[in-house]
Amino acid sequence: MTDPAAEAYRRFRDELLQHGLLISMGVDGLFGRSGTFERVVDGLNAAIAAVGDVDRPEVMRFPPGIGRLQLEKSGYLRNFPHLAGTVASFSGSDDDHRTLLDSLSKGADWSATQRQTGVALTPAACYGVYPVIASRGRLREEGALVDVYTWCFRHEPSIDPARMQMFRQREHVRIGSEDQIASFRETWMERARSLVDSLGLPLTIEVASDPFFGRAGRLLANSQRERSLKFELLVPIVPEAPRTACVSFNDHRDLFGRAWAIEARGGDTAHTACVGFGVERLTLALFRHHGYVPGDWPVSVRNVLGL
């Protein structure tokens, strides 16, 4: 029996490939993007900046990697071992090289010649921010606000084009007191709702949880929901499948503040929160709802995106 959602994902992916918007790389969840696709992504980024720049966030841009220590200290490896990716590289002598060449010529497994490099792939854009803020010492009264945009990796190969293994997140990250966090999240929920609405996309905002691993993960996910720490802005992309989270609003409480010993002004541990826009997911939603040719989209939508 065929799974209707899987069929619908495949159909949508194939249409995107046929229209040249995505470029196949032969691996589920890895795609090239066309110029048209990127112009929409750029338009979304400009629209997000137009909303967020009034707060004068500090802009930080990081490569798509973090130190292994960051992956450990942030708790990501503990909570999401199934999604995390680390970088390994050849490390060895000429003898080891011969072993590698031998394995390659036989089409055998060569991974034993690889060693961890100390670099991990960034799982979420905000992870680069916390150690930087911590290194500056105690926060000033206004706290910190950072605009970050990074390629991320999550090991979840899928035929759903909206579930890529490598994708970009545009985030605003707030670090400060509990009150500052609460007001940040409220402000951005309203801003995101209004922005996505102006793109002509149907949306709802609902309580959500992260995909924590295993039985311990069920406890964490239930607890996260009970405390309403995560909300997602959902847009239907493939009608036969669950709606897709295109923006998420995350209250981390003092999790990262404790992990990185970030001190709020009064000496308490700082709280943190972030709002993350999945720019590829929003782009896919736009193609789904308005068609594959941006020139044919409603004028109001094109105006928001500068297209």
């Binding site: 708790g75 503990r78 039985r215 311990a216 069920r218 406890l219 964490l220 239930n222 607890s223 996260q224 009970e226 405390r227 999790l255 404790r258």
Partner: protein, 87 residues
């Protein structure tokens, strides 16, 4: 002869709960989350309880409130068949 259930729960909590000072002042009904039991410490506590009592909490009990007090933990353990001994 093993100790009463809540005494054994308290012993597991002391090692796995990562609670700072004031542990001995905790009542059986005290709110553990308010006393500083973090989400990660809750996971460690859950795993330590499973090992100590040789049980597995079913999905319906994998919730924050199951681990909200010594009383709540003892109730949950009793619900999945851990027998108390006469104090």
């Amino acid at each position: 002869m093993s100790a009463p259930l809540k005494v054994r729960v308290r012993a597991v909590l002391k090692t796995a709960g990562s609670l700072q000072g004031g542990f001995d002042a905790l009542e059986d009904s005290s709110d553990l989350h308010a006393a500083g039991l973090t989400s990660h410490a809750t996971v460690s506590l859950m795993l330590a309880l499973e090992e100590a009592f040789d049980v597995e909490f079913p999905d319906r009990l994998l919730r924050r409130k199951t681990f909200s007090s010594i009383d709540a933990i003892a109730d949950a353990l009793a619900e999945i068949g851990v027998r108390d001994v006469a104090a």
